[in-house]
Symmetry: D5
Subunit: 146 residues, 10 copies
């Protein structure tokens, strides 16, 4: 069983269990964003979360060492084609220089960490049509000079 | 004067005026993210905002028609190299499929709009080091079937 | 059975049934463009359409959950090589700036939605040789400013 | 004066004349799509249309030979970044194989011509928000076998 | 059996039959260029040619529907590496603008069709070394203006 | 004066002289294809042809050394976008493997030279629409083995 | 004066001053690696270092605000061609997975920071030929889970 | 058994043996960096090291000839996506010209060898958070002139 | 058995036979460079060499038709990553314009053939470290003009 | 004067002096390959060679510091289009794996240096047409293990 097999196994088990990512996340005490990304091989589980996750979905014990390993994060489309994902790529293309300018003006010579980082997706009710709200929080990292 | 000349002119005028993007945005009644992107040619100004902006920074009247035009949004680096911008690209690479999965699960078969969209950058105080908080809000758009 | 297996299964069933896409579409109350794209994994079926489609082509019940899932829309050729598809890519290359200019002039600062969108392909009789007529209709989306 | 200089000259003259592309097109007896594309160097003017166009916008006589030349059609972004143009690229990516399948089924083994081709952009009134309607018509071309 | 399996089957059958492409083409009343390209999935057979081809090479009846389908024409090397094919790519790179200039000068504002098109390869005897002669004939297509 | 300046100078002189490429070629005893490509920097003139060419178009003497130099042949679009040129690229993509197969079958293990090579473009009268006829002739080169 | 002009000015001033990067770095109390990168627009100077640098090289006062700005870090060659730089790219290609594996094994689920980062280049005397010694030190950053 | 099978076998054997790369390296008298890279097919083992490695991990004898072969070093991502590896790519992008300038200034007209090269990864204790220390040492190679 | 299977079979047979490429080449009366390239599918064997090669390595008779076929020469890395191969790519990048200039100066307006071509690799003894000597010889081909 | 200006100056001076690269090289005691590459900014001159070169061609003294600097070696075409240069790229594509295999078999686990490297181009008289002979000699470099 390699990591891709495990991902397929997880998706089947989730469907069988009839649980949403929100529900799974709540049961293991994590957020939905993190849980989905870790379940699909884009983050590593802490030992105890892996055990809770395996128990919840009835996965084999042998899944645990794979879940706790630091995965090699690979994406093969430099520009993603799926429209739902592309729109976020477009945000980076259009607003990337703006994000940089405002971070530099507010914080100084540094960046937002993508490692000490968290993200949430929520529904924002709106009479003219509900909205997707995405919140990112990353530690500000100041460039060293030496 | 083309759009690039105007952007350079704006950046010089801003430096001379000693105003931050937050301050400029407040004066014209807009957010800092939108103001920076419109000022640098990635969004179009409504007529009245353009007039307020031109007055505030002492720009020539001839800047107004350029500011209200729908700009051609071009970026030449499919993968941005600047570390501050790259980290956001990395977010899309790592979490893109997760964003899609959670939007589909919560909202249905659709996407977050990048057009009916707003974004904010804030400082999040934190004893272990302040954090950059980025909030996006885009209208949920459901795929048609016909 | 994954989505690619299902597509192959559908194409075989269609050939066996001797039905055209127009006929299949008519039977499930949809258009031919939408039906083909949903059948080949580029759109998601509403539950009832999936059931009608499965019944019509004699597909297994297990196809239904796959048909209603929001598919990951992937194309691997940034520039399509097939001549029939390339010509449409060429239209975008040659007329893209024109479409933008006319949409901006007529509607304002916005775009045509590709999500709240429909398309039709028809035969246009012509004494000098029949023509392919393609009609697209997408909701006009105005850029927010905030 | 090369072709790019001429395009810039035309855009300035158009702004000064206060005419829309629809109005210019009507005056020279052509459509707006064709007129914009020919004016910006993506199509060649017939001699008489060039003369009418030059007279209408008060351009120098020397513009005529440039307008009637077959332009070299170049675009440098294989994947266009401007959101308004990208959505049309996305249509080709998502629906390209569908267009091919339906053309083959309806017409036979051939393609839609992008040369013997016309296109129109219109407003489609709609209570839930007006829509952009794009109509393409291209001669069906059958593959030879020999 | 998919199209690639069929191509492999055809190449084995041809080797067993000891026939050249010229001989096969003659037997089914077509040219060698067209026959090879159709046999290897780059063109579609008319029904009767498919039947003659299948009979000649002793292929299974089930090959016929695959041979008459309009194939998706895909090549994965934008720049071909094989030296024999690359030289033709080089011809297009070096002489492309020349071909355009001479077609425009002789015919007007249009192109050579690659659909209503035929090609032949012949030996040209020459005392200083025989030559490869390639002849292309494509219908001249005039750009519409509308 | 560099090579690009010279090309621009030549095109202006040609327009002023009111000569077609066919006429220029005839006057210097060469073909139109070769003459255009050499005039635009894709081939080198022999000394005497350069002198005849310079005399015919009234170019400065200093053009001669530039015309006889072996030019660096550069094209920047791996896939040409101009529709007239793209169709020839498409021919190579669709028929490249066929050209290779037929050359190998007829001549042996070798290729067509693109250096000891000539090409002609002609009009082919046809009641259903005239055709562009392109003829290439390249020396057959056999791979060495050693 | 933009950032590129300033870099050219700095290199000329350095040549005139006859100082090495080591010497300049020592005078402003920084390392040679950092000083070179900041001087050539790949890092931002703290205010006091900028003043010392400007004084040392006799640059105009107007250079200071440019030196303290957070530069947009752009490189246009995804794969660098210069052999001296390419060898470091090669190190990343060959040893990248090894660096990841050893960091994960020693530190846990995280990465080396390229922001809280320093680097030094030294000569390592060796009887068989001196060696280039490069030392990098980056803060270990642990992936969050949330 | 090909090289990829062997790598998978080695990783399983390592997990079973419960040894770290540091421990394995110590047992065969090599460094951890080199041992990992050679074990995963990015370097070749000397005969005796291969034998010690095979004995230590209980691999089949048939692994030895594969371990001592000079591997074809292939990486398919010109820009690596994994964040841990990308940060090193970023170092090369940001500091590549700096490394070149300092090597040239200190050593002369040459480069650091990536062949006569060694590298080490260590933990650097630090009260503000431990650091990853990477040390590279490559022979200085002077360009020949001849 | 396809060409890749045959290559694997040849490499196993060579290992079993304990012969170097030099020895194999000598036995079939060819050079090592040519023999290796033909054996690994980058050149075609003449009939008699194929028979000698098959006999020498104890390959099945069915290998002969595959060995004499003109192979499709494909490489998928436009820029090779293996350091040993990359260095030759680097030679072309650094010295390509030099090779062109010297060939043009010495021979005229033409190129070195890569078809009527041979190459040898030899050891060059040298007290400061032995050297790899590579000798290429290709027929000079003069550009035609016509 | 930057490096590109200097190259243009050198080429003009060479033309004026009526000297070949062979003659220039002989006068400064170097080879033609090295002299051309150094003169065009792909290698650095030793001080004395720069002085001799400047004197020979009557260049300004200010050229000397530019000639002795280690140039940044940049080529922008990953795959060169000029046919004369492409053929060498093709050699690397076709014979790269062969060069690696033979170097490994003859020398061991290492590569040919492109730094401690020399190359010569010569005419090889041949009754069937003269040949271009290219000789490369690079120091064999053995991979370290540590």
């Amino acid at each position: 069983m390699d990591r891709d097999d495990l991902t397929a196994l997880i998706l089947r088990a989730k469907r069988r269990a009839g649980l949403s990512w929100d529900q799974i996340a709540a049961r293991i005490g994590k957020s939905a964003v993190w849980t989905h990304s870790a379940a699909t091989g884009m983050n590593a589980f802490p030992k105890d979360s892996a055990e809770a996750f395996v128990a919840l979905l009835g996965l084999p014990e042998s899944a645990i060492p794979l879940l706790v390993e630091s995965p090699l994060k690979v994406w093969t489309q430099a520009v993603p084609t799926d429209p739902c994902i592309y729109r976020f790529y477009e945000v980076v293309g259009v607003y990337g220089p703006t994000l940089k300018a405002l971070i530099n003006e507010e914080f100084g010579n540094g960046i937002m960490s993508e490692i000490d980082f968290s993200m949430h997706v929520e529904r924002e009710a709106n009479p003219r049509g509900d909205r997707v709200k995405v919140t990112m929080s990353g530690k500000y990292l100041e460039y060293a000079n030496w």
